[in-house]
């Protein structure tokens, strides 16, 4: 991967991480976690671990759905 692309995808991951840390709303936090995952996935693919990328992209939404159960109770 050329350095410009690394900077771009790394920037997406950093933006997702920082905003997940700073946003106060729970739903906004979960959306920012999605952005963080979106920035991390191209690095995994670039190193050739496609099986890891498939597993990670299937497990990440499951963890989000687990958290949503608590968020709905805390929000209501």
């Amino acid at each position: 991967m050329i350095p410009a692309l690394e900077i771009m995808f790394g920037f997406i991951a950093l933006v997702g991480g920082v905003s997940a840390a700073l946003i106060l709303d729970y739903y906004g936090k979960l959306i920012s976690l999605g952005i963080l995952v979106a920035g991390v996935i191209p690095f995994i693919v670039d190193r050739g671990y496609l099986d890891v990328a498939i597993t990670v992209s299937l497990i990440a939404p499951i963890a989000t759905i687990f958290v949503l159960r608590v968020v709905r109770r805390a929000d209501a």
């Binding site: 771009m8 952005i35 670039d46 050739g48 496609l50």
Partner: protein, 79 residues
Amino acid sequence: MIALPLVAVVAVVAALRATFERNTARKLPYVNVLNFAIAASIVLLLDHPLSLVAAAAYFVGSTLEANAIASTYAGARNQ
């Protein structure tokens, strides 16, 4: 070779718009754009038959996540 940087620029713009959008419900379309762009860049990054499967898996997973967040948010607002 212009396709991959273009997709990456789209992804960066979508991520920035999604981050700096105040309204939570209005963040979700930008997140969907970001997911499209990342799924495209997975295919373009690695020339391998399995990368299509990886892009499909990422697309399914991220769409599921966005849908789950959206419907929970809507359900919490309706009550």
